[in-house]
């Protein structure tokens, strides 16, 4: 009886959006891998057949989550977090290498990516820690712990050589910002990113001149107290040091293929047959879709496997080519609705844990969505992260679904919290 109660209280809009997204994903994978020899969408030898199975598994797991006590995830948040850290450490020891980075654990026929699980674990742990009544986020120690919860798994993922998946953890800064800290850090981070990109494009000496000009500008504008002048000068020195360290970081920390990808985005390299090939083919596929697309199953670019990894990270190409701008608009609107709905629901939670957790998953979905679509249309470097609910792949679909269903459960249970 109780479970019926719970299911009746589920936010129906979120569920509809979720089902719409997985269905679009399945149909797109079918279109990307379409082959007349295997026309049945449930053909298990084909990627779309497997995706159908993954969707089924995700729904079963999702339903099971709805039946579990809502307090379970809050209570066991650290257990999940600890488990994900163990998996991340384990992958460094026994992981198998797939395309340049060691980020998969092979368990017989099943392979999964601990970094996917770590996003879930980190969301729970962060929500649990910040949501505790005795945590005062204004204290330095609390801030340190909150950032620590985010950066420890991030560094472990980075150690696997998977910079793409590691970058996802940056988005937790937005969650911490919502909870009252990090406004300055957010602005600082954005400025740092801007300086980073600019210093890759422009000679560092021009950068210095630019920074000094901005510095002079600030000196004119601000209240020239001794303290303010000192602060602005310190920022200038830090910014200059950063420009120099970017140079070092770019050539010494990033791997050559990552450097090339960034260079192509910045327009410094034209290599349409080498590394830039994916991107160009992907942009042609999407561009050729035009306003209304070529029609379902009628894409030509995608049929000839011109776009590599098309059913995984480049699934958006199929949508762009076959359903055109209209389809892309609809899909982006759907994602936006998903993320805004989660934020809206998060704000009505009585428990801080539920709210923070909601923000965490909204931000994770957002990061994946922005980076994945951005990379297929040449806005950001090609980072191999999947499009939530759409990309082919069991471990990512299951993790994204679990994240969402845990939130659905929290929301459905919100009235029971006093």
């Amino acid at each position: 009886m109780r479970s019926n109660n719970i299911i009746g209280k589920i936010d129906i809009w979120l569920l509809i959006i979720y089902l719409a997204l997985v269905t679009i994903g399945l149909l797109s994978i079918y279109a990307a891998a379409y082959n007349e020899a295997h026309p049945h969408i449930y053909d298990m030898s084909q990627s779309y057949g497997k995706q159908l199975l993954f969707i089924g598994v995700s729904l079963v797991v999702g339903f099971a989550i709805l039946l579990i006590d809502a307090k379970f995830f809050n209570a066991f948040a650290y257990v999940f977090y600890g488990l994900s850290l163990v998996c991340l450490l384990l992958v460094l020891v026994i992981g198998s290498k797939i395309s340049g980075s060691t980020s998969w654990i092979q368990l017989g026929p099943i392979s999964f990516q601990p970094s996917e699980f770590a996003k879930f674990g980190t969301s729970l742990a962060l929500a649990h820690y910040l949501g505790k009544l005795d945590t005062d986020i204004t204290q330095f120690k609390s801030k340190l712990i909150a950032y620590g919860i985010v950066f420890v798994p991030m560094l472990l993922v980075l150690a696997q050589g998977d910079a793409g998946s590691a970058s996802v953890f940056i988005i937790f800064l937005l969650v911490i910002y919502r909870e009252g800290v990090g406004g300055k850090i957010l602005i600082g981070g954005l400025s740092a990113a801007t300086i980073f990109i600019l210093s890759l494009c422009v000679s560092k000496w021009y950068m210095m001149i630019g920074l000094v000009v901005i510095y002079a500008f600030f000196l004119l504008l601000i209240n020239r107290t001794k303290k303010n002048i000192m602060l602005v000068t310190a920022i200038l020195i830090a910014a200059c040091a950063f420009v120099f360290s970017v140079d070092f970081a770019f050539y010494h920390i990033l791997k050559p293929h990552q450097q090339t990808r960034i260079n192509i985005i910045l327009g410094k390299e034209h290599d349409i047959k080498g590394v830039g090939y994916n991107l160009n083919q992907s942009m042609i596929a999407i561009g050729s879709g035009g306003f209304s697309g070529k029609g379902y199953l009628n894409g030509t670019m995608t049929k000839y496997n011109f776009v590599p990894e098309q059913h995984t990270d480049f699934i958006f190409c199929t949508i762009g080519e076959e359903s055109g701008f209209i389809g892309c608009f609809f899909l982006i609107a759907l994602y936006l609705a998903l993320m805004l709905r989660i934020i809206h629901l998060a704000e009505r939670q009585r428990s801080a844990f539920s709210r923070i957790y909601g923000y965490s998953i909204a931000c994770i979905f957002f990061f994946h969505f922005a980076i994945n679509i951005g990379m297929t249309i040449g806005l950001v470097p090609v980072i191999g992260i999947p499009l939530p609910f759409l990309s082919y792949g069991g471990s990512s679909l299951l993790m994204f679904s679990m994240m969402l269903f845990v939130f659905l459960k929290q929301d459905a249970n919100r009235m029971n919290i006093l």
Binding site: Y177, G180, G320
Partner: protein, 604 residues
């Protein structure tokens, strides 16, 4: 904590705005590439892009003297894209293609089954003449176009088994290597199979814009996304085309094989298997049908007897036994054993000669009792401690000649033959066996089986006085940057012993009683050994192995003529003609040649 919540809940608008802002940025960029910027689109909605695979020319194959063995001829495949082949005037197209409506529908069904959108071959291998006629009218039929391909051609009708052939890829082959698409060709046997990756080159792609009238309008984006095909590598074989052709000429009408090897390099100079077929037969549209015909032929011309036929080596094995006995130290080249001719026991002598023979005479006269006694002495020698140790010594040395195993080089599908192992005898005789039990080994009979290729290789190893290079087809790639190398095997037997054995083999030709004295070639020293392999299924096989010249041999050869009787009658003369042909360039013994060519070889 409660306060914080109230203060900061306004930040949801900041976060929501970031989400919306990013979505707007994505949509703006999408708007630009999908609607504003034409460079990502095809020039008009009615135009389609056609991805034409540019097939590389497959590598050519030459013989050791630069004579062309395999080249390519242009041929055309009529392609179809079913999704574009709408509103086709079927009747007139059938007339143009010279097919009836039913065949047309069958082809269409097949193409649709492969893919509705991707191109597939509608009719393959249309000749140049037909192509000219059809291509002119093809613009009437949307969805159809031509693709150029090359067909293998063989200027000389020889070496079919060595060269191998190509055929359409099968489904498992496509699954193993994504390079291949339906209708592609792949090496199926011989050189074509082994060097498939080198010969095939790399496909390129030409992208063209095609209008509604099926006319190619322009290169898509000026050819920026095109890739050029990389031609396959040319291969130069160790094969001597003239020698090969001559060998096939000599073996015509007989069943058997000839293998000639250059001892210094291990390259195959000739590999004849008879009966054989003309490689040009397995080319073109009728390949499948003709292949089946060959497969059903009771003479089994598809079998390469040189690498997959196994025979008891008979007397040709005596040199190895002699070498091993010498190396074991139980005897020297001057040790003499008695022979009582047909009264010898346990093995009779089939030749008449004086008693008490030494190694040279024993080889010259092919004396069975000599080799039995030498083998028996070795097996019972105290220096090995036991007969099993002695057998192990024998086995290790025999296999060091490359016997009892497949060839590890570019010659595919070789068989291993058989050198019996100790475990085999332990099992058959329940551990209770001795030299007497296995006495047949001493004269190359019993369980021993070798292929003609292995036998030629043994001749090369003896000619080289103690080493051989793993036998192989290729000499080099035409590009000197691509090197090839094959393993060198050193045989652990003293060079001095080889010299003694070679002396005996020379007297097979030059001695008064030599079994091959009829086949002597003036001006060329030849070392060899005839053999007559007992065949339980019919007449004995005539076998020969040898090399020439005796010092620094240029050619090592093995000849097997099935069911032909004595080695001296057929195999030795054929080998001697081959040697003469190779070293002198021409044959000046018309009588011997004529005798070898008499058609009743199999009936003798």
């Amino acid at each position: 904590m409660i306060k914080n919540k109230i203060n900061y809940s306004q930040r949801k608008y900041v976060i929501g705005s970031i989400f919306i802002l990013v979505a707007i940025i994505l949509l703006t960029k999408l708007f630009i590439i999908q609607i504003v910027d034409d460079s990502y689109k095809q020039s008009s909605d009615n135009n389609t892009l056609r991805y034409i695979i540019q097939y590389p020319s497959r590598g050519k194959i030459y013989d050791r003297n630069g004579k062309l063995l395999v080249y390519n001829d242009a041929i055309y495949d009529l392609m179809i894209i079913p999704s574009q082949a709408k509103d086709v005037d079927t009747a007139s197209l059938c007339k143009l293609l010279n097919i009836n409506n039913e065949i047309y529908n069958n082809y269409l069904k097949k193409a649709r089954k492969y893919s509705y959108i991707a191109p597939s071959i509608f009719i393959s291998q249309i000749t140049k003449e037909e192509y000219g006629r059809i291509a002119e009218m093809l613009y009437h039929y949307p969805g159809f176009y031509f693709q150029t391909r090359s067909l293998r051609q063989y200027p000389l009708p020889i070496a079919a088994h060595t060269l191998g052939n190509i055929g359409e890829v099968t489904k498992p082959e496509m699954e193993r290597d994504a390079y291949y698409k339906l209708g592609d060709y792949i090496g199926k046997s011989g050189i074509e199979k082994y060097y498939e990756k080198e010969l095939r080159g790399k496909k390129g792609i030409k992208i063209t814009v095609v209008d509604v009238h099926n006319r190619e309008k322009e290169r898509y984006m000026g050819g920026a996304y095109d890739t050029l095909p990389e031609p396959g590598k040319d291969i130069i074989l160790g094969l001597d085309a003239e020698l090969q052709a001559y060998g096939e000429y000599l073996m015509a009408g007989k069943t058997g094989s000839i293998v000639a090897i250059e001892p210094e390099t291990g390259q195959i100079l000739a590999m004849v298997t008879s009966p054989t077929y003309d490689p040009n037969v397995l080319v073109g549209r009728k390949r499948g049908m003709r292949y089946n015909e060959l497969l059903k032929d009771p003479d089994k011309p598809l079998i390469n007897r040189a690498i997959s036929g196994t025979y008891p080596p008979g007397s040709t094995f005596k040199m190895i036994n002699g070498l091993i006995a010498l190396q074991s130290g139980v005897m020297t080249a001057n040790t003499a054993y008695p022979c009582s001719g047909p009264n010898s026991a346990p093995i009779k002598c089939t030749h008449y000669h004086n008693s008490h023979v030494r190694l040279y005479d024993a080889i010259e006269n092919s004396c069975n009792p000599y080799f039995w006694q030498a083998f028996n002495d070795m097996m019972n020698s105290r220096r090995f401690g036991s007969q099993k140790n002695a057998f192990k010594f024998w086995y290790d040395n025999v296999t060091s000649f490359g016997l009892g195993r497949t060839v590890n080089s570019d010659i595919p599908f070789t068989v291993s033959g058989n050198i019996p192992k100790m475990e085999y005898y332990d099992k058959v005789y329940r551990g209770n066996w001795n030299a007497m039990t296995i006495r047949s080994l001493s004269i190359g009979q019993g369980e021993i089986l070798v292929t003609p290729l292995q036998l030629a290789n043994v001749a090369a190893a003896i000619g080289n006085e103690g080493y051989f290079i793993e036998p192989h087809y290729i000499k080099c790639f035409s590009d000197p940057n691509d090197s090839v190398s094959f393993e060198k095997h050193i045989i652990n037997i003293n060079k001095k012993h080889f010299k003694d054995v070679k002396k005996g083999m020379q007297s097979v030709f030059e001695g008064d009683h030599g079994t091959a004295r009829m086949s002597v070639i003036s001006g060329i020293t030849v070392g060899g050994k005839t053999g007559t392999a007992e065949n339980p299924h019919g007449l004995d096989h005539s076998i020969f192995m040898g090399f020439a010249p005796v010092d620094n041999p240029q050619i090592a050869i093995a000849v097997v003529v099935e069911n032909a009787g004595f080695g001296s009658t057929w195999a030795a003369p054929i080998a001697s003609l081959m040697i003469e042909k190779y070293i002198k360039g021409s044959v000046v013994r018309p009588d011997l040649e004529k005798r070898v060519l008499t058609p009743n070889a199999n009936e003798k």
